[in-house]
């Protein structure tokens, strides 16, 4: 595809994350480091998964159930890793608080913690977009473009960019929800995240049917918007609770 189209697709997948990065994250160096480390973590999880599945690839592309299995194992692994990420983050939080005490600064505010989890989620989302969408895009500059049989109305790159955008949203905000859930011990939040991830993954399985992307992409966006709204409500709730406790104390 042409350079203009290529940049368009890249911005489609990564535009919102870029603006999030520039407005929120680039101001605080620690958040940039968080983004980089969570991207690395996601990459490592992907490499481990590909190592596990390498022996079985290439899979027969007509049947969908091996892919279902692949999806299931991958998502389970990644959710497990999210838990690990949370543990590490707890340790880090303690260290940061100790450091803040040493330099006589206030401890981490609640908004700081949320920003850190947002940065973590953004790292996951960006990693997804980069590895699933961008890395196939960038070598393909040139005169032609590519269409996939199953979704033949729009170029493959556009489809993958659209799907990547949905996933970026899901990853970014589910990290906020997850961390908040672990912090508060809220079972609902904790369960919401893996369920949503799994649902999103399974929805992409629908793409196996010919013309399936017409159904799966709106469903995927529905899930993404659901995540966004849930996260927004949760954050709003916490902020107002926090305000009221601040006001009272």
């Amino acid at each position: 595809m042409t350079i203009a189209a290529g940049i368009g697709y890249a911005l489609l997948a990564l535009g919102p994350s870029l603006s999030l990065f520039v407005s929120v994250i680039s101001k605080k160096p620690f958040l940039i480091l968080t983004v980089l480390s969570s991207t690395l973590l996601w990459l490592i999880s992907l490499i481990v998964l590909s190592g596990l599945w390498r022996g079985f690839l290439p899979l027969n592309s007509t049947t969908w159930w091996p892919y279902g299995l692949l999806l299931f194992t991958s998502i389970a692994f990644q959710e497990g890793l999210r838990l690990l990420f949370w543990r590490v983050y707890r340790r880090l939080e303690d260290l940061l608080d100790a450091f803040a005490d040493k330099v006589s600064k206030p401890r981490l505010f609640m908004t700081d913690k949320m920003q850190i989890s947002l940065a973590g989620g953004l790292g996951h989302g960006v990693a997804h977009a980069v590895f699933f969408c961008l890395s196939l895009l960038t070598p393909a500059f040139g005169p032609a473009t590519f269409f996939v049989d199953r979704c033949s109305q729009i170029p493959f790159f556009l489809v993958s960019a659209i799907i990547a955008l949905a996933f970026v949203t899901i990853h970014t905000f589910s990290m906020v929800i997850a961390f908040n859930g672990y912090a508060e011990g809220n079972k609902m939040d904790q369960l919401f995240v893996p369920v949503v991830h799994l649902a999103a993954g399974l929805v992409t399985l629908v793409n196996f049917a010919s013309g399936g992307c017409i159904v799966s992409i709106p469903l995927l966006y529905f899930i993404a918007i659901l995540t966004l709204i849930y996260c927004g409500k949760m954050v709003w709730r916490r902020l107002t609770e926090h305000q009221s406790t601040q006001g009272n104390s």
Binding site: L36, I47, L49, S50, L57, F99, V103, L108, F131, S135
Partner: protein
């Protein structure tokens, strides 16, 4: 009611020094990747055939050889290269020992001129050819000459705006790295690994040339003449520090291990006395104490510890604020204060584990920039997925190295960890990840 004038949280400024060193490294890698992808698409074979240099003196790879032959040939090439580099580093140590610093400085300036002028010129010519830019010889020559001269001045003189110096250093790194990527594939990879091993040996072994160099520099309290990238000190004392207050290099009074020394990379590349990237410009990671001690402003410095990683020799110790530094990583809590005068010594470091004092500027040798960019450039010649993976690996390696530096408080080579991770991720991505992701992606299956 939320307080309006909220006290600034530590998150605002934590980790700033690391970002200030990661940004130019990333920029250099990005530029090399762009150059490689633009210039190498069509002419990979022709240019690599013509790139004879010390690194290909023993064996010139041709695509018809078997893998084993290529590997052996690459090994031979790298051994020759490392041998040359070792010799030149020892020569440098000798020169430094005999106090020929003037000569070294002029040599440094000369090599920067050659890199910017000749290598830069050649790459500019390639670009002009590729994009058919209408420009005549005389204009080109004048522009190039000016560009190179300003570069030399920027590298030499400290009175130039630091952003110009930093920009030129990144450019020099990019140019040399691009030339390295023209080497044949196997040679490049084996060379990278060999240089990482050499770095390890040269810095950690007692007879290593770089270690000798650093010890000499410390014992004389002199500056090592080298092409070193210096990140701006976080305090905003930058321009002031170089201009007004004299930069004090404070060394630890132990055996001078605060710098992370890197391999000496006197690569006699190509037609150019490529070494410009002189000796030990390679990954010397140093923290220079910017003379904040005089201003002695204490705790107001946001989140930064005033104690630098590099400590002063007897009396000169900054009366740093004791409470400012805090070890972030648990174990660091009890660093025994080695310097009697320094209470702050215990803390120091660890601003999230990389621990360099705020008033200290981080210095990274140019050789590190170059070899990281060579790795990423080589990865770019295969596919972009490897580029992203290697980039992340190298940044992770850099972070780990900085952390180890803060932990061990002695000279550590900056190449090995990053190169090891980079090569590992390259191989894993190329052979495992790519198939997986492409399979999933083409079936529009994502998670």
């Amino acid at each position: 009611m939320a307080p309006n004038a909220r006290p600034r949280s530590i998150l605002e400024s934590l980790g700033e020094e690391i970002i200030r060193i990661i940004t130019p490294v990333s920029l250099c890698m990005l530029l090399v990747v762009i150059l490689v992808s633009v210039l190498n698409t069509d002419s990979s074979s022709s240019y690599s055939a013509s790139a004879t240099s010390i690194a290909t003196i023993a064996y010139s790879e041709s695509s018809s050889d078997s893998s084993w032959d290529k590997f052996l040939g690459a090994l031979l090439n790298s051994l020759v290269f490392v041998a040359v580099v070792t010799l030149v580093t020892f020569l440098l140590v000798l020169l430094f020992y005999f106090r020929c610093t003037k000569f070294l400085k002029y040599y440094m300036g000369f090599s920067s001129f050659v890199v910017l002028g000749f290598m830069g010129g050649e790459i500019a010519v390639f670009l002009i050819e590729k994009y058919s830019i209408p420009i005549d010889c005389i204009t080109f020559l004048v522009v190039l000459f000016n560009f190179a001269v300003v570069g030399v001045l920027a590298v030499f003189m400290t009175k130039i705006a630091i952003i110009v110096t930093q920009g030129y250093l990144v450019l020099i790194g990019m140019l040399v790295a691009y030339w390295f990527t023209l080497l044949p594939e196997w040679t490049t990879w084996v060379l990278l690994v060999a240089m990482a091993l050499y770095d390890l040996a040269a810095v950690l072994l007692p007879v290593g040339p770089l270690r000798l160099l650093v010890e000499l520099a410390i014992s004389r309290d002199e500056d090592i003449p080298a092409l070193v990238y210096e990140a701006r000190p976080v305090n905003g004392n930058d321009s002031g520090s170089t201009g007004g207050v004299p930069q004090r290099r404070v060394w630890r009074d132990r055996r001078g291990e605060d710098s992370v020394n890197g391999s000496n990379h006197n690569s006699n590349g190509n037609s150019v006395s490529g070494e410009n990237v002189n000796p030990e410009s390679n990954s010397i990671l140093n923290a220079t104490a910017v003379p904040d001690s005089d201003s002695d402003s204490n705790s107001v410095v946001i989140g930064h510890t005033d104690t630098s990683l590099v400590r002063a020799e007897e009396g000169r110790v900054p009366e740093r604020d004791a409470e400012l530094s805090a070890p972030l990583i648990g174990g660091r809590m009890n660093i025994p204060p080695h310097q009697p005068e320094d209470d702050a010594s215990g803390e120091s470091l660890m601003l999230e584990g990389i621990g360099l004092g705020s008033s200290g500027a981080i210095k990274l040798g140019l050789g590190d920039f170059i070899f990281y960019s060579v790795l990423v450039g080589r990865a770019a010649m295969y596919d972009f997925m490897t580029v992203y993976a290697c980039y992340l690996a190298i940044i992770a390696g850099l972070g780990v190295t900085l952390m180890l530096l803060a932990l061990y408080q002695k000279a550590l080579p900056a190449l090995p960890v990053s190169i090891a991770l980079g090569v590992l991720f390259y191989l894993l991505t190329r052979f495992l990840l790519e198939v997986f992701v492409v399979q999933c992606s083409f079936n529009l299956l994502m998670f």
